[in-house]
């Protein structure tokens, strides 16, 4: 039996083509997509509920914090808010809560803050370290009196991803009540820039970058994610097949 480099290469490409074809079968896709459940279960089993993401010293901050995704929502509504320095912007807290809220940026800034220097890990592989300041999500959920029926918190964003599909994300209550989960209005001691999500973005530090929803407009407490968007719990989850649990 003579194995030439060529036959090896052909064999390798044939195997890859086989995998590609497998990757289009529904059963295989279902199996591949369900690995996310295993990772969520394994990671949650290995960490305490409030295990903290690593925090860094000020001298470890990235010289320039890379912005990714939407650089500017550029919708007429967003532009109007931006022109008014977000004085007319309101964050709504709705859904399964006893007391729906509508908060201005000034009101959010008046609430107790948390500051954290954390690492932002993009699904693409790069990392940037920045200092975030914001209001713990728990403060708002407690203020709005979250109902027992709520299982997820959905974040509605101002950026339209095309075809009238706005960006959105969601997390469960374990991450929603985590001490490092904040609604950040400042990065590196400056008000959040438009590229980084002005006026407010989510920080959920034990997960990847696409969970850190920018341009927040509303927070909604829900029992199930199925009726929202494409039903997978987030824009990239719906349209690109990204994992909903982005701890890995």
């Amino acid at each position: 039996m003579i194995l030439t480099r060529r036959t090896l290469l052909l064999g390798a490409s044939a195997a890859l083509a086989g995998c590609d074809r497998l990757g289009r079968s529904d059963t295989v896709r279902e199996a591949l997509f369900s690995a996310d459940n295993f990772h969520k279960w394994a990671q949650r089993s290995l960490m305490t509920r409030d295990a903290l993401a690593q925090e860094f010293r000020p001298d470890q901050v990235s010289p320039l914090f890379r912005a990714n995704g939407t650089a500017n929502p550029n919708t007429p509504a967003y532009k109007a808010l931006w022109r008014g320095n977000f004085a007319d912007w309101r964050l709504s807290v709705t859904g399964l809560v006893e007391r729906p809220l509508s908060l201005s940026l000034a009101q959010l800034r008046a609430l107790p803050h948390r500051e954290q220097i954390t690492r932002h890990d993009c699904v693409e592989g790069w990392s940037a370290i920045g200092k975030w300041r914001g209001v713990p999500l728990k403060t708002l959920l407690d203020g709005a009196q979250l109902s027992d029926r709520a299982h997820y918190i959905v974040f509605r964003c101002a950026d339209d991803m095309g075809g009238g599909r706005p960006y959105y994300e969601s997390i469960d209550l374990i991450d929603a009540f985590h001490p490092q989960t904040i609604l950040a209005f400042a990065l590196n001691d400056q008000p959040l820039s438009v590229a980084n999500g002005a006026p407010l973005r989510l920080r959920v530090e034990r997960q990847l970058g696409y969970k850190q929803a920018k341009y927040l407009m509303g927070i909604e407490a829900v029992a199930t994610l199925a009726p929202i968007g494409g039903g997978k719990g987030g824009f990239w989850e719906d349209y690109a097949g990204y994992d909903w649990y982005a701890g890995i």
Partner: protein, 239 residues
């Protein structure tokens, strides 16, 4: 590698079932992991040292995207590459753990892999290197034992490269960073871990190429058969 069961045809029982199962499972998984890993790498084909690293920072390595014939899927699809990679990775990690425990229990490690007295004498190692360079492979009973270069490479892979690639892979996970903060400290940062993960993947690819070369030189049919059925035909001494 049991030598006591040689039959009339000169066949001997060579590889244990555990070794054979793990070998072929690994072949499939490492292939999937390598090709899907290159697909993931293509999303940001730059490598850094330290805690952070993005486009404005200084990379130690910048590459073009790997071509479609070596990535899974062939067409760039970060989501599918990640699904393949993150499905195969835990199976691969637990298989290694079970294989290590199993091999400890059935004494594969102590009997076949551990160095014996004299193995590491410079004279012996030098002789082995010379034999390899001349493609003079052991025959008869000597072919039943791993030689010192084989032992060294198998030990380096099983106890070095494979655990290293699993741990650096886990270090890239923000969830695992919260669960096991010592991981990111051990490797000096997430971007360092990503770089080490990449280097280790290519070290394993290098092992794979040498491994295939050795199998082909030593007699591919006999070697492959022994890894499937466990039976091996003892090479006869040259006249």
């Amino acid at each position: 590698m049991d030598s006591q069961t040689a039959n009339m045809a000169g066949d001997v029982k060579r590889h244990r079932l555990s070794t054979r199962l793990w070998h072929w499972l690994n072949a499939a998984l490492l292939y999937t992991l390598f090709t899907s890993g290159l697909g993931i790498f293509n999303a940001h084909p730059r490598l850094y040292w330290g805690q952070y690293g993005a486009n404005f920072d200084h990379p130690w390595l910048t590459l073009d995207r790997f071509p479609g014939w070596i990535t899974l899927p062939a067409l760039y699809n970060l989501s599918m590459s990640r699904h393949w990679h993150l499905t195969a990775a835990p199976i691969f990690a637990f298989a290694l753990l079970f294989y290590m425990l199993w091999s400890l229990a059935n004494r594969h490690i102590s009997r076949d892999l551990a160095f014996r007295r004299g193995d590491l004498l410079p004279r012996h190692v030098w002789q082995d290197i010379k034999d390899h360079a001349r493609l003079r492979f052991p025959t008869g009973q000597a072919a039943l034992r791993y030689n010192v270069l084989q032992k060294t490479s198998y030990i380096a892979v099983i106890f070095g490269l494979l655990p290293l690639i699993i741990l650096t892979g886990l270090t890239m996970s923000p969830g695992m960073n919260a669960a096991w903060p010592w991981l990111v400290e051990l490797f000096g940062g997430r971007q360092s871990a990503r770089s080490i993960h990449f280097i280790t993947a290519f070290a394993l690819a290098g092992f794979f190429l040498v491994h295939i070369l050795m199998v082909m030189l030593a007699g591919p049919l006999n070697e492959i058969r022994s890894m499937i059925t466990g039976r091996y035909k003892l090479p006869q001494a040259r006249p």
